[in-house]
Amino acid sequence: MAEQPSDTAAGPGRVLVGLYGLFAVAAGARAAVQLATDFSAAPVAYLLSAFAAVVYLVATIGLVRGGPGGRRTALIACSVELLGVLVVGTLSLTDRAAFPDATVWSVYGKGYGFVPLVLPVLGLLWLRHQSELAAAEDDEPA
């Protein structure tokens, strides 16, 4: 059975793209509502939601496009995402005053079933796997 698609949006990648697309929409919608209705209440948290939405969107686009360029784009986005969820997750626990309202990344994405914490790890593993496949193809041209 051919289960080794080299494209970043095929096979398990399709599930990842779905999740990233979902989070881009979810974080984007949340940020849009928060920024439009209640910006002054927690500007840092709401701007972070918007930033997270952009990161998810860039990762989605990178994964869908694939190839060396798409993989690099997705790699940067997933790295920023992992860093973001770790930093914001930690800050939201240590400095509650700075985060009066929740973002996607608060408490390591607890409000979203910790998917925001797992997603970048899966993304980075998947990208590494894809890069190895691509490198192997370069070594032995068919």
Partner: protein, 120 residues
């Protein structure tokens, strides 16, 4: 609303189960998945009609904008899931539907929560 959410959750669980089964069995999705997703969509549309009737009848959730966002968003999820899974020729198509099913279940209970919060 809560009764409908239970129905939606059961159907979503059904879709998730057939999705997991096809992934575990290494098979692509088939008629059964399509039928489960269609059933879920019907349940969501019934729920949307009930909600709109309630809104027209004067029920006002406190966060009306968020409620409407969820109401519109949730009916799109099974459609998006089926379209995205359909062109995947591997076992992972089932997992895409599992994600869609879980998202619908989670969103639906949030929807009920928003519906019941009328701000006194």
């Amino acid at each position: 609303m809560t009764t409908l959410a239970v129905v939606v959750t059961v159907v979503a669980a059904l879709l998730a189960v057939v999705g997991v089964l096809s992934t575990v069995a290494g098979r692509r999705t088939g008629q059964l998945h399509l039928a489960a997703a269609a059933l879920l969509e019907v349940a969501l549309l019934v729920q949307a009609v009930v909600a709109v009737v309630g809104l027209v009848g004067g029920h006002r959730p406190e966060e009306t904008a968020a409620f409407l966002g969820y109401l519109v968003g949730i009916v799109l999820v099974p459609v998006a899931g089926v379209l995205w899974a359909r062109s995947e020729p591997t076992r992972w198509a089932g997992t895409v539907l599992v994600v869609a099913a879980v998202v619908v279940a989670v969103m639906d209970w949030r929807l009920v929560q928003l519906w019941n919060a009328t701000g006194g």
